[in-house]
Amino acid sequence: MAARGAPAVDGRCVLDVEDVRTRFHTADGVVHAVNGVGFRLHEGELLGVVGESGSGKSVTMLSMLGLLPTPPAEVVSGRARFDGVDIMRLGRDALRQVRGAGVGFVFQDPMTSLNPVLTVGYQIAEPLRAHLGFSKAEAWRRAAELLDLVGIPSPASRLREYPHQFSGGMRQRAMIALALACEPKVLVADEPTTALDVTVQAQILDLVRKLRRELGMAIVWITHDLGVVAGLADRVMVMYGGLVVERADVEALYLRPRHPYTRALLGTLPSVTGSGNGQEARKRLPSISGQPPSLTTAPAACPFAPRCGHAFARCWRENPPLLKVAGGHEAACWFDVEAGAPRRQRENGPA
């Protein structure tokens, strides 16, 4: 793990996202889905983004690429430097070039993200013809290579089939092939294995590892499966209530989590072995008590404070920024869980 994580940090930064804020205007009022999220993605790095449902993981990525329906969504602010330009300020045509050719996107549900009335080949060939100006025959040839790359047998004949003739795992492979078609520098995978069963999930994870080795692209992997992230990511970003609460290398995060939410999250993981003691094994799974934040107002206090065992007066007054807690490790918390005491005010300054 260390060997894999090390070079990634030195790599050139390919995607630098800052201060993404997105609101949804709903019938029940405004929902502050993303409240100032930023991250950096280095060449060849796999960044895991974890958090519970509604923590703003997907919305951050969709906002970045302008893929949210507006209205109801409103992207209030944000900068995303990719290839030296801020893609959140681009015009329609320039943005279209970035989508697909620069940043690929794999969606959560392979059952609904392929068009049922078009052949798989047509859908994979489409971005090739749009971005790279391939002829129809060239695009189909390349599409067959892509299907082969993602491990679908007899790709040439499979191209002529429709999505309903594919199984769930194959569709997700086809979706990955589609996202990879133009060899983007960055691949955003939005819970790509959530809708798949465990065996297929394992195959897809193997596929992603293989593709990373072969193509060397940077990947943002959104998931709420901490186990997947542990085995796959170089760095992890934990999100809660539309905010980044902790950011660290994967080992640091799992071995020494610094944010109470991350600790609680890791504490909820069931252990495969158990403690051996029968009494212990029959215990209920631990859960984080309380409700996820409602997000109807922009956060003025720490969003996790109501559920946090360490919360003290300051947590209710001020929302903590990301503070540097160790080399390459940041946490947004006023409390130093390792010292067991409140952090001294901005000792290291905001990260």
């Binding site: 989508r99 697909g100 969606f107 993200s113 009335v117 078009l118 489409e126 971005p127 971005h131 089939e161």
Partner: protein, 307 residues
């Protein structure tokens, strides 16, 4: 690519795929009404297309010695008050009526789909376009048609000749006044399809809006469009008949079913057949087309298919 090696393995388990249209046809075949409809409609179309070659009597030939005759071998449907052969007129009139119905339906379909897709896909256009649709639905159609025809008949006749001029005018007025249902249906379907994840997926790989609309959204709303197309033919034929019946359709020497009905109405006591035949032709055509539309709707809806 490892094609030669894998092709052998994969070809064996490939099951026989049925194309969508095979499925639709299988379901359609189970709909008795639709099958009868197709047969009747096909019979009418064939008769109208090839009938004049077999029954080679000039529909405009005046035989004043043979006026108001009943059914005979020479005149299978009798003759009118000027001795013109009714059967020949029915066949010639059917050509015009069906041509008007078909072209007007196409025009209404294109207009309705265009408006519906734009309104459904672009939030900003939705309000204005749907209010326009409401406006057209609120218009009293028949009086409006009469006014349009009165206003433009002579100009168009001068420009395109009496027959094609009036044909264009009638097709245009029927098309322009009957696209609203299609627009509403298509808008509703597009609103639903637009939110599907594959549209976002297509946008995420940089597909152009125009291409998303034509290649991703449109094929997904095709079945309601086709159903509304078949029903549109029936509607257009009825409207054309109504216009002709009011004397505002084609000129008298240019028969359509509605025109024949209009001319025959004055002689209903002498030769009732002159009203019955065109009336029957209109009713049968509309009925069969409606049944076809009904069967098509059932066949295209996978939830109803195989029931």
């Amino acid at each position: 690519m490892a094609e030669p090696a894998t092709a052998v393995v994969a070809d064996a388990p490939l099951r026989e795929h049925r194309a969508l249209w095979t499925d639709v046809w299988l379901a359609f075949r189970k709909h008795t009404g639709a099958l009868v409809g197709v047969s009747v409609f096909a019979l009418i179309v064939v008769a109208v297309l090839f009938g004049p070659h077999l029954h080679a009597v000039d529909p405009q030939y005046l035989d004043l010695g043979a006026r108001n005759q009943g059914v005979s071998f020479a005149h299978p449907m009798g003759t009118d008050n000027l001795g013109r052969d009714m059967f020949a007129q029915m066949l010639a009139g059917g050509r015009v009526s069906l041509a008007v119905g078909f072209t007007a339906m196409l025009l209404a379909l294109v207009l309705g789909t265009f408006v519906g897709v734009l309104a459904g896909y672009f939030n900003r256009l939705d309000g204005p376009l749907m209010r326009l649709t409401d406006l057209f639905l609120a218009l009293p159609l028949l009086p409006l048609l009469l006014v349009i025809i009165m206003l433009f008949r002579d100009t168009l006749r001068a420009a395109f000749g009496p027959e094609s001029g009036i044909f264009l005018l009638i097709v245009f007025v029927i098309g322009v006044t009957s696209w609203m249902q299609t627009a509403r249906i298509v808008r509703g379907e597009v609103l639903a399809v637009r939110e599907r994840e594959f549209v976002t997926a297509a946008r995420s790989v940089g597909v152009r809006e125009r291409r998303i609309i034509t290649r991703h959204v449109l094929p997904n709303v095709l079945s309601p469009i086709m159903v509304s197309a078949t029903l549109g033919i029936a509607n257009a034929i009825i409207t054309e008949s109504a216009l002709s019946f009011l004397g505002l359709g084609f000129p008298p020497d240019f028969p359509t079913w509605g025109r024949l009905l209009f001319d025959g109405a004055n002689f209903i006591e002498i030769t009732p057949a002159r009203v019955i035949w065109p009336g029957l032709a209109i009713s049968l055509t509309v009925l069969s087309v409606n049944y076809i539309g009904d069967g098509l709707r059932d066949a295209l809806d996978p939830r109803l298919r195989g029931r």
